[in-house]
C-alpha cells in the first residue's frame, strides 16, 4: 500500500483501497458454474498470479473484473469501483490483454498503439510521446510500420502488452500472456511486468508456467471455479509441504480431478 502511486481518478480514499476486492463472486453459464463463490483481495502494486488448470475459471474471473461478463451473483470492486454499477469508470483505469491476440492484423504496430492510446484519451504531444516511449520500451520501433498480422507470436504478445499499458493504467489484466512464446521473449516480457509493478501498477496475470508463478508477489490457485489456495509463493509451498510450486499445482490438480471423474 505504501508503494502505491496516487491514482488520478479523484475518487476519495482510492489510493488506500486494494486494487481488487471480490466477495462471493459467481458466474454460471446455464448449469455450468464457471466461477463459484470467489472471495479474494488483490493489494495495489502487486503482481498477482491466478493459477489453475484449463477451465478452472481464471479467464471468466478476469472477464468479470473487466466488465466483459456480468456476474451471476456476488460483488466485486476494481480500482475502487463496482463492476456492476461503474464498469466504464473501471475501463478507464485498467489495461487488458486477452488470451487470444486481440489487436488489428490489418493495422501497423504504430497504428495499433496509437489507436488504443487515443481511445484512452491521449492526444497531441502526450500521445506522440507515449507511443514513442512504448515503441522504445518494447524494442518495437524498427517494426512500427509493419502490419501487426505479420508479426511472430512473441512480437504480437509484446505489442499487445504495449497497447494495454500505453495509457499507464492503475491495473493491468494479462490472460496467459506468454502462452506459446519462446523463453527469451518470455524473459523480456516478465522484465517489463517487473518494471510496471515497481512503478506501482497492479498486475493480474494468469499462467501455466511455474517459473512465472514464482515471480508473482501473491498467488491464487483455482480449480473448477473455486479458489483452493492463496498466498505468497513461499507460503503456499510451505503450507502443502512440497518443494516447488509445480509439485503443488500437480498435487492440487490430481486431488481435484479424482472426484470429478467419478462424479461426472
Amino acid at each position: 500500500m505504501s508503494a502505491a502511486p496516487a491514482p488520478a481518478t479523484g475518487a476519495a480514499g482510492a489510493a488506500a483501497d486494494p486494487a481488487i476486492v471480490t466477495r462471493g463472486l459467481t458466474k454460471a453459464f446455464g448449469a455450468l458454474v464457471a466461477v463459484d463463490d470467489l472471495t479474494l483481495t488483490v493489494p495495489r502494486g502487486e503482481i498477482f498470479g491466478l493459477l489453475g488448470p484449463n477451465g478452472s475459471g481464471k479467464t471468466t474471473t478476469i472477464r468479470m473484473l473487466c466488465g466483459l461478463l456480468a456476474p451471476t451473483s456476488g460483488d466485486a470492486t476494481v480500482v475502487g469501483f463496482d463492476v456492476r454499477t461503474a464498469p466504464e469508470r473501471i475501463r478507464r483505469r485498467i489495461g487488458y490483454m486477452s488470451q487470444r491476440f486481440g489487436l488489428y492484423d490489418d493495422l501497423t504496430v504504430r497504428e495499433n498503439l496509437r489507436f488504443y492510446a487515443e481511445l484512452y484519451g491521449l492526444r497531441g504531444a502526450a500521445l506522440r510521446d507515449a507511443v514513442a516511449a512504448q515503441l522504445a520500451a518494447f524494442d518495437l520501433a524498427p517494426r512500427a510500420p509493419q502490419l501487426a498480422g505479420t508479426l511472430s507470436g512473441g512480437w504480437k504478445q509484446r505489442l499487445a502488452l504495449a497497447c494495454a499499458t500505453t495509457h499507464r493504467p492503475d491495473l493491468v489484466f494479462l490472460d496467459e500472456p506468454t502462452a506459446g512464446v519462446d523463453p527469451a521473449s518470455r524473459r523480456r516480457f516478465w522484465a517489463r511486468i517487473g518494471d510496471y509493478a515497481a512503478a506501482g501498477m497492479t498486475v493480474v496475470v494468469t499462467t501455466h508456467y511455474m517459473d512465472e508463478a514464482a515471480r508473482c508477489t501473491r498467488l491464487a490457485f483455482m480449480s473448477r471455479g473455486r479458489l483452493i489456495a492463496a498466498g505468497r509463493p513461499g507460503e503456499i509451498t510451505a503450507h502443502f509441504g512440497l518443494p516447488t510450486l509445480e509439485d503443488v499445482f500437480v498435487a492440487l490438480q490430481q486431488r481435484d480431478e479424482a472426484p470429478a471423474e467419478t462424479g461426472a
Binding site: R91, R92, G102
Partner: protein, 371 residues
C-alpha cells in the same frame, strides 16, 4: 473525456482498415456496376421487334401507311402478308408470327368519311408481358397516325380511337423505370450486408473483446462503423447513376443535389439496419443470411419489380416497413418526374425516422460484453 472523444479514433481506424481491404473495396464498387448492367439488360419488360404478319383487306394507300407507322414504332417487324384469317391463324400457331394486324376492307372509306376507322391487332398472349407491350405499341401507332391524319385533313377526320397515353416514359422503355429502382436495391443490398458483417467480424477475429474493455462508447463504436460506409454508398450511387445515364439513357429531370441529399437518410437507414443485424448475428455467415433474408421483401414488396398498388393489403403493409419503398418514390420522382422536396417530404421524413430508430436500436442492443 467526452463521449465523442472516442469517435475520431474509431473513424480513422475504420477508414484505414477499409483502405487496406482492397478486395472488399473492389467488390463494393464492382458488384453494383456489374449488377446494374445485368439487371438493366435482363429486366426488359418492353418487347421490341415482335414478328408480325399483315392481313390487309383494305389494300389502300391509307392501310399501307398505317402498317408503315406500326413498323416504325420498332415494336413490330413485318415478316409477311397473309391472304385470309385462316392463314393468319396458321402463322401465329406455327410461331412464324407473334402478332398480326388486320385492316378491314372499309378502313380507307371510313377515314375518308371522317368516321372512326377500326384496326384489329391480334397478339399471341401466351406471354402476357409481350402482348401488353405489343398492344400499347399498336395504340401508339394508331395515335401517331391520327396526328398525321388530323394534320392532313385540318381536323375534319374522325381518325383512329386511342386512349392510351404513357407519361414520363413514352417509349415504355423498362430500363428507364428499372434503373432508378436498381440504385435503391443495390445500395440497400451492399450496404446492409457489408455493415451487417462489420461487428460480427470483430467478434470472430477476437478484436471486439480487446476493443470493448477500452472506454470506447457504444455510440462512437456504432458511428465509427457507419460513417465510412456513407461514403461508399455515395460512390456506389454515383457509379450507378453514371452507368444508368450512359448505358440506358436514364433521364435526370429533377435536381441532382436534391437526389444526393435525399440519399443520405436512406444510406444511413440501410447501414444502421445492417449494424442492427450485426448485433443479432453471432457469425459472419449468419449475418449474410440475415442480409439476404432482408433483401427478398425489398425486391418483391418495395415496388421495385411490381407496383405496390396491385398488392394485397398485408403485402402493402410489409412494404411500408421498408426504407427502400420510400426511396424508390424519391428516385423515380426526382429522376423521371423532376419533382422536388415539396412533393417528396413525407417520404423523406419517414426515411429519417427509419435511420434514427435503427441507430438507436443498434446502440441499445449492442452490449460491451462478450456473452
Amino acid at each position: 473525456m467526452s463521449g465523442l472523444g472516442t469517435f475520431w479514433p474509431m473513424l480513422r481506424k475504420e477508414f484505414t482498415q477499409m483502405r487496406r481491404d482492397r478486395l472488399t473495396l473492389g467488390m463494393m464498387v464492382g458488384i453494383p456496376a456489374l449488377q446494374l448492367v445485368l439487371f438493366g439488360w435482363a429486366i426488359q419488360t418492353e418487347v421490341r421487334h415482335l414478328p408480325t404478319v399483315v392481313l390487309d383487306e383494305s389494300r389502300s394507300q391509307e392501310s399501307r401507311a398505317f402498317v408503315a407507322t406500326m413498323a416504325n414504332t420498332g415494336n413490330f417487324d413485318i415478316v409477311g402478308h397473309v391472304a385470309s384469317r385462316a392463314e393468319l391463324a396458321e402463322a401465329i400457331e406455327g410461331g412464324r408470327a407473334h402478332a398480326a394486324v388486320v385492316i378491314p376492307p372499309q378502313y380507307a372509306r371510313d377515314l375518308a368519311r371522317g368516321r372512326q376507322a377500326q384496326v384489329q391487332v391480334v397478339v399471341d398472349a401466351a406471354d402476357p408481358l409481350a402482348s401488353s407491350a405489343a398492344l400499347s405499341g399498336a395504340a401508339l401507332a394508331g395515335q401517331a397516325r391520327t396526328v398525321e391524319l388530323l394534320r392532313g385533313t385540318a381536323g375534319r377526320a374522325g381518325a383512329i380511337d386511342v386512349r392510351l397515353r404513357p407519361w414520363y416514359n413514352p417509349a415504355l422503355r423498362s430500363a428507364v423505370y428499372v434503373v432508378p429502382g436498381i440504385i435503391g436495391v443495390l445500395l440497400s443490398m451492399t450496404l446492409v450486408i457489408i455493415t451487417s458483417m462489420s461487428i460480427v467480424r470483430e467478434r470472430e477475429r477476437g478484436t471486439l473483446e480487446q476493443l470493448v474493455v477500452t472506454p470506447v462508447t457504444k455510440t462512437s463504436l456504432m458511428l465509427g462503423k457507419l460513417v465510412p460506409f456513407v461514403l461508399v454508398g455515395y460512390v456506389q450511387m454515383t457509379l450507378i447513376l453514371l452507368l444508368g445515364s450512359g448505358l440506358f439513357r436514364v433521364p435526370l429531370r429533377g435536381s441532382l443535389p436534391l437526389l444526393y441529399l435525399e440519399a443520405l437518410p436512406f444510406i444511413v437507414a440501410s447501414l444502421a439496419f445492417g449494424l442492427l443485424l450485426s448485433t443479432l448475428a453471432r457469425t459472419q455467415a449468419q449475418a449474410i443470411q440475415l442480409g439476404f433474408f432482408y433483401m427478398m421483401p425489398n425486391i418483391l414488396l418495395s415496388g421495385f419489380m411490381f407496383p405496390r398498388e396491385a398488392m394485397p393489403a398485408p403485402a402493402q403493409w410489409l412494404g411500408a416497413l421498408l426504407p427502400l419503398t420510400y426511396f424508390l418514390d424519391i428516385l423515380r420522382g426526382v429522376l423521371l418526374k423532376g419533382v422536388g422536396l415539396g412533393v417528396l417530404w413525407p417520404q423523406t421524413l419517414v426515411m429519417v425516422g427509419f435511420g434514427v430508430v435503427f441507430i438507436l436500436l443498434s446502440v441499445r442492443r449492442f452490449a460491451k460484453t462478450v456473452e
